[in-house]
């Protein structure tokens, strides 16, 4: 348990530290930078295929991202909880 907490604290620390490091960035995606890099090397490149569906707004995009995270988390914790319960059942036998 203690180890889990320490690891968790480290992860949270890794996410918070960037906000206190001066870097002049604005937390866009690193893909954005890669895209502009592509246009530096090949200024006339045009994407030749468009996504079939794009989220109608950034709000809807964040909804879908949250959904992705929530569904995954639900599965993980369902399984962890299920096996924890099963172990306790056996412990009672």
């Amino acid at each position: 348990m203690k180890k889990t907490l320490i690891l968790l604290a480290l992860v949270v620390g890794l996410m918070i530290v960037p906000f206190f490091v001066p870097h002049g960035g604005e937390y866009g995606g690193s893909d954005d930078q890669a895209e502009s890099q592509i246009l530096v090397v090949a200024p006339h490149y045009k994407p030749w295929f468009q996504p079939l569906y794009e989220p109608a707004s950034s709000e809807i995009e964040s909804l879908l991202f949250t959904l992705q995270g929530s569904i995954g988390t639900a599965v993980i914790f369902y399984i962890l909880g299920f096996y924890r319960g099963r172990r306790e059942d056996h412990a009672g036998d």
Binding site: T4, H23, G25, D31, V75
Partner: protein, 243 residues
Amino acid sequence: MEKLLKKLSLSGLGMGMLLLIVPQEAFAMHIMEGFLPPVWALAWWILFLPCLYVGLVRLRQIVAHDSNQKVLLALCGAFIFVLSALKIPSVTGSCSHPTGVGLAVILFGPGVVAVLGAIVLLFQALLLAHGGLTTLGANGMSMAVIGPVVGYLVWKLACKAGFRRDVSVFLCAMVADLMTYFVTSIQLGVAFPDPHFGITGSSLKFMSIFCLTQIPIAIAEGLLTVMIYDQLTKRQLLPARSQ
């Protein structure tokens, strides 16, 4: 200096153009839809398909051999699913997300990850305009094949070298994550060689964008993978050999 300014203004122009063309794609992290020339998109797809096939065969073997493994497979898939939805800020001032493939590669080997990764990439390409169908071959090769394979080698080596189990887990997940973006940089470098410095120069530039951002995120991913691995061990969900 002049060159730098020229580059800056060009990249500004590029960004502007990009904002006009693809306004909704501003937050993605894999290679974007349509951003690999057709030849390369096709080449990576051709490489990825056999890996996917091998993964499917392996997946069927595992499930046929022991249907209890389905639970662990679901958990590994869910782990990749969650981690690739987390866009974490990095010290470079941009955000990127972990890949989450370390856990699956440790529990099931690299073959299975190709399938799990493909599912997640497909979800993101279809619903989030994040990555893309044309670039799925390339993204699949980097995130679901080469990254995991290298992670797997690190895992095997670390176990042989007698490292602590959790240190090996950490190293595997971290290297698999970094390798993914290393490969992405090379994929972009090969497709868009720098006019002056060639493929190497261009790849290095993409690396400076992706890999620097990715280092703290890879460390975070390593730690998260150790956490979930510990929980699985505690619940005796892992076979004795890997505890």
